[in-house]
């Protein structure tokens, strides 16, 4: 039954990951000196990879977009189409249903972020591609963003699953997640271990809230 749940989630969200990955790869191509679209300014081949190539900004932008779309697609769309009633009546615990959703959503988000970072790093590590040196520590900020944006995915999931009267209050967890993401980034910058601890704590809080909301809300 877990397989059926996972396959269903994959069928519903794979297109978001595919579009997101294409966008990521487009920006990577741009940073490596290839213009995917005619109006894009080619950059990167003369800049220091990961440090001043503009990769981090585009990576954060696309990752946040993927995280928010995935989180809301998995929850708000079920509410909008009334399919929670069909899904939650399956003879399986709510916890398992949520676990399948979160595993697929987080898995896709992480995969979508992993591929562009590794591709860009692999290009940067190849000798003769750019005039600056490359060290793996240069990718640290990208990895940090990759981890921190998980919080945005969980917040979007929570925003979609919690009942709210209007979009303003529904999106409250997302706004909160924005602030929390800044806190974790600051913690990462000053003390990476603290950053990881803050991130794990936030993720645990959000997971707890998601489970609590799913158990206490009315699916009507």
């Amino acid at each position: 039954m877990l397989k059926a749940l996972v396959l269903k989630e994959l069928r519903e969200t794979a297109w978001i990951a595919a579009v997101g990955l294409l966008a990521h790869l487009g920006f990577v191509a741009n940073c490596t000196g290839h213009a995917v679209l005619p109006f894009w300014t080619i950059r990167g081949s003369l800049e220091i990879p990961f440090l001043d190539s503009g990769f981090l900004a585009s990576f954060c932008f696309v990752s946040v977009a993927i995280a928010v779309t995935l989180g809301l697609r998995q929850t708000a769309v079920e509410s909008g189409r009334g399919t929670w009633l069909f899904l939650l009546h399956r003879p399986v615990s709510v916890r398992r249903i949520l676990a399948a959703k979160l595993a697929v959503g987080l898995g896709l988000y992480l995969l979508c972020g992993l591929i562009p970072i590794l591709s860009y790093a692999a290009w940067a590590a190849m000798p003769g591609k750019h005039p600056s040196p490359f060290y793996w520590w240069m990718t640290a900020d990208a990895w940090m963003a990759w981890c921190v944006i998980c919080i945005v995915y969980l917040a979007a999931f929570l925003a979609g699953i919690r009942p709210a009267r209007w979009f303003g209050t529904r999106l409250l967890p997302l706004a909160g997640a924005g602030l929390l993401a800044v806190v974790s980034v600051l913690a990462f910058i000053f003390w990476p271990v603290l950053g990881i601890a803050v991130l794990l704590l936030l993720a645990a809080c959000l997971l707890g809230l998601i489970l609590f909301t799913a158990r206490t809300r009315d699916f009507s």
Binding site: M1, K3, A4, K8, R11, E12, R81, G82, T83, W84, L85, F86, L88, H89, R90, P91, V92, S93, T216, D218, F219, S220
Partner: protein, 316 residues
């Protein structure tokens, strides 16, 4: 006969409105229970509370002796639920919906499912989003029945279906009931459907379960009494079983449940010129029972007065 569904003082508020009010209900094994009520009377909320989808503010509901909010997956597997509007995943084909649903059940009657799909001429390759409301209802019914449930809970299953599809759907439901003594609780506001299928009915009025009795008993016990007077009719005194009392010209129309000697004597004490006691069919009985003081818009009265004024002008 053990009770499959039991509720004690079940209450649910939406904002300050009481959607379901102190509801006590028992549905025994093998019974077909028709839950009637107007739109917004609390039928869907009650059903969702029975399945643990909505949390009651007060009271409790039990299905198979388990509290609804804590139904174990094994217990849920014994219950089929058709939600209002038959929500299914639109992107799936019928075959994919079958594969998805089948994955959750140990007991799955594939041959029965095939029979139902064939009977309704539903292709396994058809996309759910391309199906009509009636076809979606048929797919939902097939998926629900294939899991071999002991209890079927259907929330307005014939809503939005045309007469022919509705009849077909109900006949299939009757066959399912006859096949094995399953317990069915279904809500509807189509009286003919209920009359055809239900052994017992419950009528919800503004969240309160006003009637809970065998279908035939309800039909037999409700009467419309028309008292005709020579001038302004007097008020009918309050008494047990009086559902409504309204004045229509020189007549007073009463709707009475459990009409008997007490009511007849009260009516005679008003000394009417004539008195008619009229039996009602289920539909009329339900309408009279649930509509309260509201009546149809007085458009025709307006037209009549317009016509009168026109004829008055002509005479002048």
């Amino acid at each position: 006969m053990p009770d499959m569904i039991v509720t004690h003082g079940l209450t649910k508020y939406y904002d300050r409105r009481r959607a379901v009010n102190s509801l006590n209900l028992r549905v025994g094994q093998g019974l077909v229970y028709g839950l009637l009520g107007r739109n917004g009377s609390g039928k869907s909320t009650l059903i969702k509370m029975l399945l643990g989808m909505v949390h009651p503010d007060c009271g409790r509901a039990e299905v198979f002796g388990e509290e609804s909010l804590k139904l174990r997956p094994a217990t849920r597997a014994r219950i089929a639920y058709l939600a209002e509007g038959h929500p299914l995943y639109a992107w799936m084909t019928v075959g994919e919906a079958v594969r998805f649903a089948r994955a959750f059940y140990h007991h799955w009657d594939g041959s029965l499912l095939e029979q139902i799909l064939d009977h309704f001429e539903l292709s396994r390759r058809a996309k759910i989003r391309r199906l009509s409301n009636g076809q979606r209802a048929q797919v939902s019914l097939a998926l629900a029945v294939a899991a071999d449930p002991e209890l079927l809970i259907l929330d307005d299953p014939t809503l939005g279906l045309d007469t022919v599809v509705r009849r077909d759907f109900l006949e299939s439901l009757i066959q399912i009931i006859q096949r094995r003594g399953r317990t069915i609780l279904f809500s509807s506001h189509i009286l003919g459907d209920v009359e055809r299928v239900a052994d017992r009915i419950g009528i919800l009025v503004d969240g309160v379960l006003r009637v809970d009795c065998p279908t035939d008993y309800f039909k037999e016990s409700i009467r419309k009494v028309v008292l005709e007077f020579e001038r302004q009719p007097p008020e009918f005194p309050a008494c047990t079983g009086l559902v409504s009392s309204r004045q229509v010209g020189c007549k007073r129309e009463l709707i009475i449940v459990g009409y008997g000697d007490e009511h007849r004597q009260l009516a005679e004490s008003l000394q009417p010129r004539a008195m008619d006691v009229i039996e009602m069919n289920l539909e009329d009985a339900f309408i009279e029972y649930t509509r309260g003081p509201r009546r149809a818009l007085p458009l025709f009265m307006g037209e009549a007065s317009d016509a009168q004024s026109v004829s008055a002008e002509r005479i002048a």
